[in-house]
Symmetry: C2
Subunit: 339 residues, 2 copies
Amino acid sequence: MSKEKVTSQQVAELAGVSQSAVSRVYTTGASASKKTTDKVHKAATALGYRPNVLARAMVSGKSRIIGLVVAYLENQFYPDAIEKLSTQLQEKGYHVLIFMPSKTAENIDAVVEEILDYQVEGIIVASVALSSQLADRCRSAGVPVVLFNRSQDGEGLSCVTSDNFSGGAKAARFLLAGGHKKIGYIAGWEGASTQRDREFGFTAALQQEGATLYAREAGDFSMEKASEATRRMFSDDRPDAVFVANDHMAFAVMDTLRFELGLRVPEDVSVISYDDVPAAAWPAYNLTTVRQRANQMVRETVRILMEQILGDGLQGQQIAIGSPVIVRGSARIPEGWNS
Amino acid sequence: MSKEKVTSQQVAELAGVSQSAVSRVYTTGASASKKTTDKVHKAATALGYRPNVLARAMVSGKSRIIGLVVAYLENQFYPDAIEKLSTQLQEKGYHVLIFMPSKTAENIDAVVEEILDYQVEGIIVASVALSSQLADRCRSAGVPVVLFNRSQDGEGLSCVTSDNFSGGAKAARFLLAGGHKKIGYIAGWEGASTQRDREFGFTAALQQEGATLYAREAGDFSMEKASEATRRMFSDDRPDAVFVANDHMAFAVMDTLRFELGLRVPEDVSVISYDDVPAAAWPAYNLTTVRQRANQMVRETVRILMEQILGDGLQGQQIAIGSPVIVRGSARIPEGWNS
DNA sequence: CCTATAATTACATACGTATGCAAAAATTAT
DNA sequence: ATAATTTTTGCATACGTATGTAATTATAGG
């Protein structure tokens, strides 16, 4: 009762044509007369035939599969991105095979190897880095790789990020314009390029304005660590403003400030962060934040992949999407602020 | 420079054995002597050989791919579930091909057809329903289907949900025990079995205690609609408690109550909902909610899939996981409440 | 040391489709 | 109407692997 597979051969027999005729009907760009096309379609619908993508992949070398590596689904930014990626790739006729590295060690390499086993036509690596050997391996296998929301040097590697440096700088100038004097920073995971670039941009802008960082703690992109960092940072002689490396941590920071330390946001402390995930707009947080334009990032990612898949061997591209400050209520709004 | 494919044939030549020998070395349960195994492994690592999963799938009929259909990634419950599903399936040697139906029409059927084209060994359908024709199609193709967080009649269809009826009843008893007299309900999308069962359980328990529903509005599982529903429900002669069909809407309900209508939670209005997504525990919401035990739901889903894949043709199973009330601070806590 | 048995191996084939090639049919030009 | 050209078609083969079958080798038993 199970496993009834309908093959092009069976369709061919019913339609009274050859198997290759059936194949040509279903292959775009192949020639088939209207008469046989009709006969084949009729027979196909009668039998419920649909081409086997895997068999097709075998001979054509095109699997129509894109591998996606993603680790931190707790941070809403990533589900959001996955949804957009999947939808846009589906429109192009591709589908997404998802891989989640267990968050222990550097088994990311192992995961990417698994991906390659599926003969994917491209790989998107979100929120994690790639060893240079693996990057080489992908390149020599002719499989384009795009790093999403991480940047990394390496031949043939493409990266799509927001402009984290200038985004961080914007956050600094916003807080300075608000008249803040004691400005703290809660860092993300130190190994992440996004963390690094946001901090560089932030401190560079502070220095440019003659200011200096008042406090710094690491939150590792984790809510719990961010809460602890907040407690340490606000234990004595507290800052009057804090830049948090992403929204996900900022929620924990705000909750800790308000419900644990009894501070008001933004009256006592201004909070600004980075990403603009959906929850940032929820009234409970109403978070002023630097927006990562997920739509554009996804669009660029898909564009690069398609370019590399079609015209193979192209150079890696590094894209940084501009990131505007979204002014809400968690940070004091400078007088006469515009843009 | 691109597309260097290493095949078992090449490994065989380098190792001085036949292609089938190489295959047997990489096939569990096949016989190969230690000597040839060593030779093959040496040659394989020298060439960087890894078996082609797609070719393997062709001949063995096992693609090691599970198709996953999921629509609402904004609701944190689903990213959470995806992560757990993906991880557990990876441990079993399977990988997840993800499909997101564009949220327009009943193109879910089209999406499932696409999934079948990839010769998946099983399908998980989360948060959406399936037409009976498609269910039949999957069954006759020998592909087991598990509905995740939706239940639906149909031969061979398996469902894994929380026990929504008794969960809804628990919510009702919690509010009644808290002394609430005017109890409202904000419904999810009316077409969803989860919505229906939660409401049935809720109103059944109300009636059992001699109470009756004071107000009802539909929120469609959307935050925006839930906000509108809240405004309508609390425009005059407001309820003193409200059960919201899921956490995702409850966040909007609480925000609307607090920041728009100036009501205190739980002093003026008790809010209880369903799911216990991570954000429910965030201090800003501190939401009392009926927990869906995602871990157990995922475990059952994977178990059913594995059973059906191995011993094919099994009957569909309907699993409902018990769902406890997680008491936090958004609803008045009845005196002497335990369990 | 020889036979009986078990383990291993190579050969050949199959999975379902796409595609180069040559034959056949259809179309156009003369 | 015939030749020249284009389009369509069927045949055969290839993609990379697993596996049944038969031949070979290794192991055990006497």
